[in-house]
């Protein structure tokens, strides 16, 4: 089963390497990882999607917690949470089929953020399912290249993950 972990870490150089090293060393699989700053400049937040059964996830969580610079680890999988991914997709859109591509982009409420004579870059934001569906819908036109952020997640409601 796939789990979404939200990990609050100190904003130091090398923290990402420690986390990545831990996953590598103990043989856990990272499906995606997104890191960025938080409301507190001293902290960063990582959203890690990891595959494993409950026992593996418990080990991952506890091993992460052991890292000195990791302040808090929470498993969002069974909690109400919002999750989003962003993808940029450069799709083939020659004049005869361009209209079709634009239609699909509209249906998905995605955006076109770059236009060239043969291609468009589509920006899509949504949960994993939506991003995957967008990619499938564009695939027949020819995807030249693509980049994805990995999942970001926050708990719903007033509760927040803080250093305290």
């Amino acid at each position: 089963m796939r789990h979404t972990l939200s990990v609050l870490v100190e904003n130091h150089p090398g923290v990402l390497a420690r986390v990545a090293n831990l996953f590598r060393r103990r043989g856990y699989n990272i499906e995606s990882l997104a890191v960025g700053s938080t409301e507190n400049p001293a902290l960063s937040r990582m959203t890690i999607v990891v595959e494993g059964d409950d026992r593996v996830i418990e080990q991952v969580t506890r091993q992460l917690d052991k890292l000195i610079e990791v302040i808090k680890v929470e498993n969002f999988t069974k909690e109400e949470h919002v999750n989003r991914e962003l993808a940029l997709i450069k799709v083939q859109a020659d004049p005869p089929r361009r209209g079709e591509v634009i239609q699909i982009v509209d249906i998905f409420r995605a955006h076109i953020v770059d236009v060239s004579p043969e291609t468009l870059i589509v920006e899509v934001t949504g949960d994993e399912g939506k991003v995957a569906a967008m990619i499938e819908a564009l695939r027949p036109f020819g995807i030249k290249e693509m980049v994805r952020t990995g999942k970001l997640a926050l708990l719903r409601g007033p509760r927040a993950l803080t250093a305290e």
């Binding site: 870490v9 080990q59 052991k66 302040i71």
Partner: protein, 552 residues
């Protein structure tokens, strides 16, 4: 007060109560060595950085206080790596300081540059690269705090040469701010109650005690618990000395080369109380058949150890000493006469023994060391057969008297570790029980022992083989002794060349006088015991087998 980084480092060490540093100088630590030159901290110059790390580790294991080692950048730092990994696997509070190339050169493949914080990331509890001399005092404070609290472990602090050379205003640091580091010492009372309930209804309990008992100083509590519920106690290799080996409830060591009665007791138990142990593969054997009928209570300060290897019914996170105290509160006297009777029968039927056939036997030598030292020596070991014979045949009765590389299994550990132990305990008799293979992995430390008048006794159980590997080749590879036979130097002459004493022993009746002579000698002594070449460590659980099924 304006001080250089090197001077600040020494000030900080003094504030941490450090008395001795084991180290080896080099270009990137020149400012630190300059501060040491007239400083108040004792420095022991080893002959290899690896030995400095092991000596610091031996010092830490013998005293419970942090052991400090120091090396230069690049090869100096990488030579520490085996020592740091050894300390990490056995949760020993070693603090390693390394020089680094100047900050302006970091990342440019400068002369003697190695990314030692990157290299040691998976083998330290934490590590630091200090980029500004203003951070140095704070980092050193944090390093000692991390190494010595919670589950102890090594910490490395990498100091570029321009940082140790730079001056700044020194102010002692008193507070450590580590928001992500909050070890849990007090056990959850609910879990303690659950554990007490399991213990009260158990008919065949066994306690398995690991190194955590020693780290936490919980021997007294462990004895009280065992006597209260009349449960036999098996120790892991790291737990040896944590429970008196001469106690009637002692089962000795369990696992691959444990006693039969320890392994049988665990295999037939209905309740396993695992205390301060990670229950690794050398303990459990085939994991599916480990203690198959037992409920498991597991106490450890490291939450990640609970359920890592063995499924647990009652996990208890906390300091072993506090957890045992809390547990004892909820328990009543609870003898298990039938169970103890069964164990006594096993002890009578399957004692630890060896065939005395008039030849020089390693087990006999270890037993003689025990007799001559009245069981009171500090015994370090190398790794392999020597280590297992030491564990089996020396009866350890107090914590911190058995110093061995359990987790990593580092050959070459014992001699430098024994040097560290002797530095920490100058009045005590210190032995390294060694093999002819292992001793050659840090034999250069004879110079260290001689130059600092450290009268370490090295008992080389010399069979001309890498004995444990040979044993496996004999048992599982049809006696194909691939590269395990050793050409050896004359160890007596080697010792003498360094200014130490050397004694060769070939007959059983020579053992005792030789040991007495070695202990009486003010010099370090190599005892070259020419033992039976193909003696095996028995009993033994074959690899991948259940611990109840032993050979020998």
């Amino acid at each position: 007060m304006r001080l250089t980084g090197g001077e600040i480092l020494l000030k900080c060490l003094q504030e941490e109560g450090v008395e001795v540093v084991f180290g080896y100088p080099g270009g990137a630590v020149l400012p630190i060595y300059d501060a040491l030159y007239e400083g108040e901290i004792r420095h022991i110059l080893t002959r290899h950085e690896q030995a400095a790390a092991h000596a610091a580790d031996g010092y830490a294991r013998a005293t419970g206080r942090p052991g400090v080692c120091l090396a230069t950048s690049g090869p100096g730092a990488t030579n520490l790596v085996t020592g740091i990994a050894t300390a990490y696997m056995d949760s020993s509070p070693v603090i390693a300081f390394t020089g680094q190339v100047p900050t302006s050169l970091i990342g440019r493949d400068a002369f003697q540059e190695a990314d030692i914080t990157g290299i040691t990331m998976p083998i330290t509890k934490h590590n630091f690269l200090v980029k500004d001399v203003k951070d140095l005092a704070r980092v050193v404070k944090a390093a000692f705090h991390i190494a010595t609290t919670g589950r102890p472990g090594p910490v490395l602090v990498d100091i570029p040469r321009d940082v140790s050379g730079a001056e700044t205003e020194y102010e002692p640091v008193t507070e450590v701010k580590l928001p992500g580091y909050r070890p849990v010492y007090d056990p959850d009372p609910e879990r303690i109650k659950q554990a007490a309930k399991l213990i009260a209804t158990s008919e065949r309990p066994v306690i398995v005690a690991g190194g955590g008992v020693i780290h936490s100083g919980a021997t007294e509590e462990l004895v009280r618990l065992a006597e209260l519920i009349m449960a036999p106690v098996a120790t892991t290799l790291m737990g040896i000395g944590g429970f008196p080996g001469n106690h009637p409830l002692s089962l000795g060591m369990l696992g691959m080369h444990g006693t039969r009665y320890a392994n049988y007791a665990v295999s037939e138990s209905d309740l396993l109380i695992a205390v301060g142990t990670r229950l690794d593969d050398r303990i459990t054997g085939k994991i599916e058949t480990f203690a198959p009928e037992a409920k498991v209570i597991h106490i450890d300060i490291d939450p990640a150890e609970l359920g890592k290897n063995v499924r647990v019914d009652v996990p208890i996170v906390g300091d072993v000493k506090r957890a045992l105290r809390a547990l004892i509160e909820f328990l009543q006297k609870n003898p298990h006469p039938a169970w103890l009777e069964k164990i006594e029968t096993w002890k009578r039927e399957y004692p630890l023994t060896f065939e005395a056939n008039g030849k020089l036997k390693p087990q006999f030598i270890v037993r003689q060391i025990w007799e001559v030292t009245e069981g009171k020596a500090r015994i370090a070991t190398e790794v392999g057969q020597n280590q297992m014979w030491a564990a089996q045949f020396y009866t350890f009765t107090r914590p911190r008297s058995f110093i061995t590389s359990g987790g990593l299994g580092t050959m070459g550990f014992g001699f430098p570790a024994a040097i560290g132990v002797q530095v920490a305990c100058p009045e005590e008799v210190v032995f390294d029980i060694a093999g002819d293979g292992s001793i050659q992995m840090n034999i250069q430390e004879l110079a260290t022992a001689v130059s600092y008048d450290l009268p370490v006794n090295v008992a080389i159980l010399n069979n001309g083989f890498l004995g444990m590997v040979r044993q496996w080749q004999e048992l599982f590879y049809q006696r194909r002794y691939s590269y395990t036979e050793l050409y050896n130097p004359d160890f007596v002459k080697v010792a003498e060349a360094y200014g130490a004493e050397g004694i060769r022993v070939t007959k059983p009746e020579e053992v005792r006088p030789a040991l007495e002579q070695a202990i009486a000698s003010p010099k370090p002594v190599f005892l070259d015991f020419i033992i039976e070449r193909e003696e095996n460590v028995m009993p033994m659980v074959p690899p991948g087998e259940s611990i109840g099924k032993m050979l020998g």
